[in-house]
């Protein structure tokens, strides 16, 4: 990672899918690796079914809390309609993780977020240990083992 580079990830989906949990995992992992992290989210009034998007940026020093439109390096969708709505945020040559959503759905519909974060982790300059620490902080003791398993499975299944 270059000195003044910022990595931009846009998470999107609908209320109830765990978009914010996914972005939290990513932020914590980046934090544990010593980066300056900003995470900014937009969620309307609804608890269930409304649009949810979360901007995550990390690097040495991050300015804007929002990723400028057209500057997203990685788009991580949990819902196809929301992907359609926000795909124009992706930069030229940015990586769209939509192609892994189906795999995530076969793995576990309830934890699309954990699987997709596992996919994302393969692309980011963050140590595996920091991801595991993030999972430990973000999930309760009861859910940790399963989510760790799912995360690692996604990490294994991604062919770069």
């Amino acid at each position: 990672m270059k000195n003044n580079e910022t990595i931009n990830i846009l998470f999107c989906g609908i209320g109830g899918q765990g978009v914010l949990k996914a972005s939290e995992l990513c932020c914590l992992a980046a934090l544990f690796d010593g980066y300056h992290v900003k995470k900014s989210e937009v969620h309307g009034m609804a608890q269930r079914g409304g649009s949810v998007e979360s901007h995550v940026r990390f690097g040495k020093l991050v300015y804007s809390p929002l990723i400028p439109c057209g500057m997203v390096d990685y788009l991580l969708p949990l819902h196809r309609d929301e992907h359609e709505r926000l795909k124009h945020f992706l930069k030229h040559g940015g990586i769209d993780l939509l192609q892994w959503l189906e795999k995530a759905e076969t793995a576990d519909k309830k934890y699309l977020n954990t699987y997709m974060v596992g996919v994302l982790s393969r692309f980011l300059p963050i140590k595996e240990n920091s991801w595991l620490r993030a999972l430990e902080v973000a999930f309760s003791h009861k859910k940790y083992d399963y989510n760790k398993h799912l995360f690692l499975r996604a990490r294994r299944e991604v062919q770069l």
């Binding site: 914590l28 900003k38 009034m45 609804a46 269930r48 079914g49 649009s51 300015y63 809390p65 990723i67």
Partner: protein, 577 residues
């Protein structure tokens, strides 16, 4: 949560950082009423036993309790969303006259872009109107430091200090270093009628003192490190405040900046100094032309946004267009329609109101979603309390077929005087209190009628039934709205009666009590594809490609409203638990 981790770096939101800053500054009393985007400030402070935190009945009460605690000698904090400050406007406007004694910080969280509000007013103007200093952090890490500075300034100049965040700062997380709390000894309080009793003569003298103080504050603002010149390329210079600083910095990292963190009283000399040093000068801000007008008043040549950018939130990608002098191209609302949760107890009430064909005066809360199609049965929403006051006006204008609705938290906040007004002025008709036992809209905070404090401890519970009777309601019916037939019958009866009636529609918010009953069975043979079940707007029911209905098992709570409304018996109650 984090209070013991001194020196630790945590990912705090702007709101949590404000609270952490206040905590470290030794705040003793903190008061607020929930509201997006400010809610988490008090929720975070409530975890500390050293801080006497409260959800107040409303913002006016919160402001007065916090201010008077400060006058009494305890460092205090008030926090609310932008429109909450309107409710506290009466005490706020005189607070600069009386001053504070111990530090008093007023946190206003504005909502440019109207993510979750009824307007996008700019409270920088309120700080100016109330004549109190205004601090504007750009990020969570700054917010923590600015709040600590605000307490010091407040005590040094004997004035309330406003710290203004916007949604984008309040709800952004970043690395924030946690520090140690400094206990501040209580300040001595002396009775001082000339200072604390605002009768005309005293108030006049205090106004003189206030104007003197503002001059001192202005001199201070000129030197404050919160107003910072960052010289870079002198070809292009930006005057910016709040989060705008970060957007412009992102897009023009090589330009020069005057970053205003202490923007009222306005540091005129600093602005002149900066203007002299750069060739082309821009001012970029969100919402009102607050900085722009000040700069222009100084006779400085400055370029500003096209006025179309005064509407809505700024975004980094807008900045180049602003610099080019372009008009804003409206992005349009593409987000999905928000909807009440499956099993929400508000839904059956709106179903009944829709059938009654009443005109419904509404209020603010999750239930405002009753206005959206296909329910379409809430017809006004202005501000908190207006569900009842608008009922009075529309009843005068439109006659009997008007019903007023209001949430339980909103009723306690601003509905009680409105209900007394109905009774006192001999208005008849029906008000429905949507009592889901919580302030759901802002994330399920307790309120007086729940009998629980912000710290989760039991307290005296306000009885809504008793309040309504005492206010003068002739009939008070408590009904579980999931019993749709009963609700429908009582609504019908009360609308027509020559009496002032209140129905308390009482059933807990589904996010509060995650009870699940069996998912209704769908009997395909009985379905006539009339889609009445879809008209209740439940996200757990949808139409499939074959035109039949399906229920999302993972979302359905088994509330059975769809069973209730299905005219052909295609949806059948499932008795299993």
């Amino acid at each position: 949560m984090v209070s013991t981790d001194i020196g630790k770096i945590a990912l705090l939101s702007g709101n949590e950082a404000v609270a952490q800053g206040a905590y470290e500054a030794g705040v003793k009393v903190a008061c607020s009423y929930p509201g997006t985007p400010s809610t988490e400030i008090l929720e975070y402070l409530a975890q500390f036993p050293e801080v006497d935190s409260q959800w107040s009945v409303n913002e006016k009460v919160a402001f007065e309790v916090a201010l008077s605690s400060a006058i009494g000698g305890l460092r205090s904090l008030y926090a609310s969303k932008h429109v909450g400050v309107n409710v506290a406007m009466d005490p706020l406007m005189t607070s600069a006259y009386v001053g504070v004694n111990a530090g008093f910080v007023v946190v206003s969280c504005d909502d440019p872009g109207i993510h979750s509000s009824q307007n996008e007013q700019d409270n920088r103007l309120i700080a100016r109107m109330a004549k109190i200093p205004l601090l504007e952090p750009s990020s969570p890490a700054e917010a923590k430091e600015f709040v600590k500075t605000a307490f010091k300034l407040s005590e040094r100049f004997d004035t309330p200090v406003m710290v203004r965040l916007t949604t984008r700062i309040a709800h952004t997380r970043e690395n924030v270093k946690l520090g140690k709390r400094r206990e501040i000894p209580q300040k001595e309080f002396n009775v001082n009628v000339a200072k604390y009793v605002m009768v005309p003569r005293n108030a006049y003298n205090r106004h003189i003192a206030l104007e003197k103080r503002l001059l001192k504050l202005k001199a201070y603002a000129e030197k404050s490190p919160l107003n910072r010149i960052e010289l870079n390329s002198k070809k292009l210079g930006f005057i910016v405040d709040s989060v705008s600083y970060l957007y412009v910095k992102e897009m023009y990292p090589d330009a020069s900046f005057l970053k205003l963190g202490f923007s009222f009283p306005f540091p005129e000399e600093k602005v002149k100094e900066f203007a002299r040093q750069v060739k082309e000068l821009y001012v970029i801000e969100e919402l009102e032309p607050f900085l722009e007008e000040h700069i222009r008043m100084l006779g400085i040549k400055v370029r500003a946004r096209d006025p179309s950018f005064r509407i809505g939130e700024l975004r980094p990608e807008y900045i180049p267009n602003i610099v080019k002098g372009k008009k804003k191209t409206e992005p349009g609302w593409t987000a999905r329609k928000p909807v009440m949760c499956p099993g929400c107890p508000h839904r059956p009430v709106f179903w009944v109101l829709k059938k009654s064909k009443a005109v419904v005066t509404g209020d603010i809360g999750c239930y405002t979603l009753g206005a959206l199609p296909p329910l379409s049965s809430l017809h006004s929403c202005l501000c908190m309390g207006s569900g009842i006051t608008f009922f009075e006006g529309w009843r005068k204008a439109l006659g009997k077929n008007v019903v007023g609705v209001i949430g339980d938290s909103t009723f306690v906040h601003a509905g009680v005087p409105a209900l007394i007004n109905l009774s006192y002025n001999k208005t008849k008709g029906l008000i429905i209190i949507l009592d889901n036992g919580t302030t759901a809209m802002t994330g399920n905070q307790p309120h007086p009628a729940t009998g629980i404090t912000i710290k989760g401890t039991p307290t005296k519970r306000l009885s809504l039934e008793d309040v309504c009777r005492a206010c003068g309601a002739d009939n008070v019916d408590v009904i579980n709205p999931h019993n749709v037939k009963e609700l429908e019958a009582v609504v019908k009866k009360r609308i027509d009666e020559d009496a002032l009636s209140v129905i308390i529609a009482r059933a807990p918010c589904v996010l509060l009590e995650r009870k699940r009953a069996g998912v209704p069975e769908f009997q395909k043979e009985e379905c006539k594809k009339c889609y009445i079940c879809l008209s209740i707007d439940c996200p757990a029911i949808y139409k499939t490609e074959d035109g039949y209905i399906r229920i999302k098992r993972e979302w359905c709570t088994g509330c059975n409203l769809c069973v209730e409304v299905c005219p052909t018996g295609a949806l059948v109650k499932n008795e299993e638990q």
